[in-house]
Symmetry: D2
């Protein structure tokens, strides 16, 4: 998509992601709690790993909607005094990475409009693949967009019909968009949640003390606020919650789900239930599978903190090889940072992690990684281990090579930046990373570890088989992203 | 109008205006200077007295428009590093008081949209009287508004026609709005300026070093940047400036002008030419007229700094009575301030002005004021003078009693708050203010001092004869403003 | 003195003084008011013209002293929430320019120490001429200084004797320092005020509602807070105020006073009584004298706002020549500012003042100035008047040529930067400024206008006769200041 | 100590320590690198765990010392632009917790003075036990202290002798102080490092690229900047580094070392060498010992992240019981935080850690902890585990019960707050924590795991045998700390 308005103040992407992909966002909603904004704050806090670029909360009190959003972490955007200015019993919230639209405050969500004396707010996880075409058609008819987010299209599609029934306007709008959406909406007196028919991204429903409802991208948000996980929002379902209770609509024909398997591998928090499975246990099973497929002779197995922790634990458990935490993480690595200058080369990698030299000296080491995207960070860490005395370094990755970009809401680097797409063979990748040996978990092994059937997943980043073809060629998508 | 979105962060109106009316805004534009944003900064700086609530600059470089705006003074919103991020040779700028719409950042101007891959920015001085009705109709058709400003209506009226010719879209939009507008617009490659057919508010055209053009609400902005004043934008004229030069359109039938006489009396800077006249000399003539109409026996004549300075000078000149500066202004009175508590009553009036007691003790004093709106500040100052020993206090005002609110862009208090409307007789007003005697300049005297014919002016705040009837009753307008 | 610690954060001197000299500081104290800090805030606010670089308040509650100080204006350093954290019924305050010591926060006053379980705070206006020698001797014995201020010497001289009687320690310390000091001090339960035997700088005593006391550099501070002016602190007097009331000490032999006449000419606010005289009326008398000494043929007389206002009024009154306000001041000129670039030369002078061209065109103009120090600003303004059409420009200055630097607390430029010292003859100065003619008031005329005998004044900046010779040669003093 | 000046702005202790003791500080120094300040920034960054309340850097360029310090983390106090203002090839730095003195900026270190035209800066880890008595004596003689830090005494003791030889002044001062000190000092042209004769706190010396020297509290700082660890500063040694190289002085008679064993157990980073031993391996050996002493029947062993990680790994390795990471840490837990209100009780414990319920349900769990001080956090976590389904919860602690406060620089809670001192028996502690069983590692086992002889350690927090008796009774010390 990548429209650049040039409006507003661009924010530097200082977030440190170690070359890992970044998710599309996290959403949260609450209905029927007298401290709805505060609860949403905690919900977003638990979902912070899904988006660290901006955060926002919109809250309704039966008459109007108030909102606060800003660039930065949830705890940076919201302080006690802000929350006090957000009264009401209904709220939605959002944390964001910019998978479409620029990294500017005007693109932060929830997206709030005041239209014909009513308020509407929307928060969205996922990517719409036909947003650009819909936008152009709307602009020709006179619609003026405020942001560069694909999500704004939904509101504009609804606008001419809002003087009639809200839910008809919503169904009408959703019937025109294609792609991935886990959406929560807020009006002055109701909360709405919906998930696209293929259910690419997670979205769960919970109960709060018997008289309130909560909705969240991941169940770890329910744990934090003491809510009870009930079930996932169904593929294609629209849930509307107001004073008469919860109503469920299923206006669209059923299709096969396409859950994003990368949520299991990397994105979701290990303490969440995602697509019905516990992530921690699933990742340990990925480690078990790895140990069955690949056992070079090593003295110890370890993760790079904190990426492959659970797969590494599973690997050690299955293989009987000792598990160590051989690189120590500096807990104070924040987001603003002073750069070492040329005089002090090679600091970068050591600022975050420091190897325990007496532990590693002369050892044969197996690193278990969850995934490799660009590979540059891994390469630096491998070199750092080598300089600290490791004799052999092997690596096992808990998924197959990631070869194709994602149009459904994950900010993979373009195809050109995907290490596996660029280097081709596993041997070449191992050479690039400086490893004695490298093994990727097989597709079958990965799916088997989830405990779910393969046809429930979107595996397109491994296979290139896209369940919904985006209108622009993927290469073009990549190119635009590189140009950013 | 007074729609309150509830969107955005409300800003406290801390601006100290001494109970004086506040103007609707100041606008500025430049075409053809390589430091367009910097020039606009200085232009707005010279126009700061027309609006101290927010400031903004939009600049075009032939490809796109960049913008910065914020709450506060021009010098607070813009620093050196901001200006550097606003490259381009065309710019428009705006300083604002909130006569319609809330005092929030989303209501700051210029108003910028990105529509169908083009950028449009607009800055507006004046009030549209049918904005609310137009907005409702547009919303019914699906338009989503971003602000509560009347000015936004113009862009939405243009939007469906922008894929055709820009100037047709503009003429079509302007043909639908009624009220006062001195507007400057910016596209990626041209600057547009237009003034409503009755030309309520000033708007002047200047030349910059023979190859650039400037437009400003007042000519004092030209003086600061070293530009040459050419002429006023004509009533109803649309001026378009692009690489082929300046073109003038006059698409609307001519009507009699209705210049706001209050610009001469109070608003405009004394060093400006407004409606073709020099303001300083005009105000001295108002003082001459006052001296002819009213001469109580006094020892000295003085203004309250800095409101009636020039009329007071004129009065002293005509009457031969000594001119004094008997109240000393604290130059450090800013906008944030610590309040004296109950224990320290009566500080308020002294914080800003301190009478020179040895000068005033036992004297008969004539205060010359430009105008009286609410009267509370004047009353406090009169009492303060009395406490410092003045024996008699008389007052002469350089315009008639202000009895009617203004729907064309001046933020007079509602009718209920207008002292002259509430108290009725001049004697009652004098009693309220605590004066020995009070004289208002006659309507004829005021108009004669301007040197222009009476039928060129809007005199409705004195006479109640409105040249364009606003759709809502004026009483309702007042009520809404009070409710704020 | 000019010791540069290099400790702390230097603050850019952005204060705009139009080339005028800057005073040494203002001090304020209150005893016996339950909102002592708030009262001190207002007192400092009234004294802001005496120092705009830093501000501070120390407050005592009978047990301890709390303090807040910072760089910037009083209204910038203090907000409502700060004042709330400063409880107590006794307070002292200070506003500062850096005449000695660097412009850093560690040099802001009041200077507060915690010594042997007691607190002592001090605020000082004036310069000590033997501070450097005293400091060296103290350091040799082991004293460690915290700032580069001459004022700190007083506390260190007191420290070894503080375990005995406070007032003996103070008299002992003051008997060792030489130079100008108007000082207020605070302990946990008393307020002390003292003035050097020659009484260079003003210091007045006032009564607050019959049960409280106030002390201030100028009486305008009393007016603001509604206090009654009683008398000046006497030369060499020490006033101690505690629960047993006010006590006065006169431990030093009497000498002839040396009041700084520049307080009357320029520094003090026109609404203050200084050295027993009203400043406004005194300045008008300076204008009368000027008119008697010098009457070139002109059409109008005017000040440059706001420097020579009252002398100009006096001149016009005496001469009968019309008084005009021919240059309009932009009230929004603040302290941070965007610079015009080379492309926009000559903005500088116009940003602050704009001449009223139709008033000045073809006229013979007399400018009345209070004083001329460096002359560069005046020269620019004269040129600006000329460019706006003035036919002849004459100038009358309300004091003699300023030819010698001041070691007693006024930050005159060094001798090399004093226009009159550099150019020599009045004719040369007139040429430098671009004037048709120039007249300085005679020394006799100046003194006569004050209504006080000449031998009560320090006239050393005009005559070079220094009542206390500073240990370093004045040339060295100048040199150091230039090196800054 | 706990002198409260009441000077300056107190800072809320928002640092989250989970009830763990806080160290006295970290110090760092560099000599002979052209980016000394930047290197010191990175050194302090690696030592951040030793003090999170304030950070400071002083840098010398051969002529003068410049400094910056502030409250907060190293990365908050320093930004790129600050470092640029700190040129020079020598520097010292400090991170701090307030074990003596208030938590205010005036107590941040390095402590810098400008004395008799020379600069001296000092940074100190440890506590002096006779600081109060020395201070009183100095004040009686006229010294004025700037802070409430014990460290300031050293400078004042040196001051009267500084006009003679620096090293004599230092030896003289150190001969008078008693207690724990690992100190680095800076003059305009040299760096000094010294450690008290008992060497309570660590201090190491390193080499930088063959021509520079570095000193740090822990060797992990050397790893980050690529320096080579050479040796520890010896007990009682003074190291002076200047242009003629490194010189070592040993002016004090040798005594037996008293290394703080708690550095091994908890404080030091696992990747540091402390007192000659690698901390990671030492902690694993503590786990081995624990497994030999205590084996309840459990299904899994886990730490509370991230306190007992390495001892837990050692325990699992020795016992063969599976190691799990059963509580997931929220990586975004920062230092400012919105409090859950009463309506949302019990959030507190879950904000930081969330148990993986499917992993723990029905299991018998062994928690391995490094140490228990107050026990409240542990109790909450145990309850949280129980609520999430753990069937049995046992705990093993890698040191004996902590029963006595520390006067040498560790901010243990007062004796009344030490869980083991208050509850007495291990059974009572287990009941308080809600455990099925609890085991503390034996004193012998702990010492044996270090691999060093017992008489090299200070074990007073376990045994109550203090190697240097503090002048105030320990109970009084405790009482004062509670009163804070």
């Amino acid at each position: 998509m990548g429209i650049d308005h040039g409006v507003g103040k661009a924010v530097k992407k200082a977030v440190q992601t170690d070359g890992k992909p970044r998710d599309a966002c996290g959403v949260f909603a609450v209905y029927g709690h007298e401290e709805a904004a505060r609860l949403t704050f905690f919900g977003l806090f638990a979902l912070q790993h899904r988006g660290q670029e901006s955060a926002g909360i919109a809250v309704a009190d039966g008459c109007r909607i108030r909102e606060r959003k800003g660039m930065g972490l949830v705890s940076e955007v919201f302080q006690e005094e802000n929350l006090k200015k957000l009264p009401g019993t209904m709220a939605i919230g959002h944390v964001r990475y910019s998978t479409t639209g620029s990294s500017v405050i005007s693109n932060a969500q929830p997206f709030l409009v005041h239209h014909a004396d009513e308020y509407y707010a929307l928060a969205h996880n996922g990517n719409l693949v036909n947003a650009q075409a819909l936008r152009s058609a709307l602009e020709d008819k006179g619609s003026i967009f405020q942001s560069t987010m694909d999500s704004e299209v939904i509101i504009h599609l609804m606008a001419p019909h809002l003087k009639d029934r809200f839910e008809d306007a919503l169904v009408n709008a959703l019937s025109q968009v294609r792609g991935a959406y886990s959406v929560v909406m807020l009006t002055k007196d109701k909360v709405i949640a919906t998930r696209d028919p293929r259910a690419f991204r997670p979205l769960s429903l919970g109960r709060l003390d018997h008289h309130g409802w909560v909705i969240a991208s991941e169940t770890c948000a329910f744990d934090l606020i003491g809510a009870q996980y009930l079930r996932d929002i169904e593929p294609g379902e629209i849930v509307m919650i107001d004073e008469s209770g919860l109503r469920s609509l299923n206006p669209f024909p059923a299709v096969k789900p396409c859950h994003c398997i990368f949520e299991m591998i990397y994105f979701a928090r290990p303490d969440s239930q995602v697509f019905g499975e516990n992530v921690y246990l699933c990742r340990k099973r990925l480690g078990h599978r790895l140990a069955k497929e690949f056992q070079p002779g090593v003295d110890l197995v370890m993760p790079f903190p904190d990426s492959g922790n659970y797969a590494a634990l599973g690997y050690a458990e299955e293989s009987g090889i000792p598990f160590e935490m051989g690189m120590i993480r500096n807990h104070y690595v924040g987001r603003t940072f002073i750069q070492p200058t040329q005089i002090m080369r090679d600091f970068g990698v050591r600022v975050k992690l420091n190897p325990v030299r007496p532990l590693l000296r002369g050892k044969r080491v197996l690193i278990v990684e969850d995934s490799i995207i660009r590979g540059t960070t891994s390469r630096n860490r491998v070199r750092n281990l080598r300089e600290n005395g490791a004799k052999e370094i092997h690596m096992a990755v808990s998924c197959p090579p990631t070869r194709f970009p994602c149009p459904y809401g994950i900010d993979f680097s373009s195809k050109g930046e995907l290490l596996a797409a660029r280097e081709g063979s596993v041997d070449a990748i191992a050479r690039f990373l400086g490893l004695e040996s490298l093994h990727y978990l097989s597709l079958e092994g990965m799916v088997a570890a989830t405990g779910m059937p393969a046809d429930q997943f979107c595996l397109s980043c491994y296979t290139g088989n896209y369940p919904i073809v985006p209108p622009e060629s993927l290469e073009k998508l990549c190119f635009e992203k590189q140009g950013k």
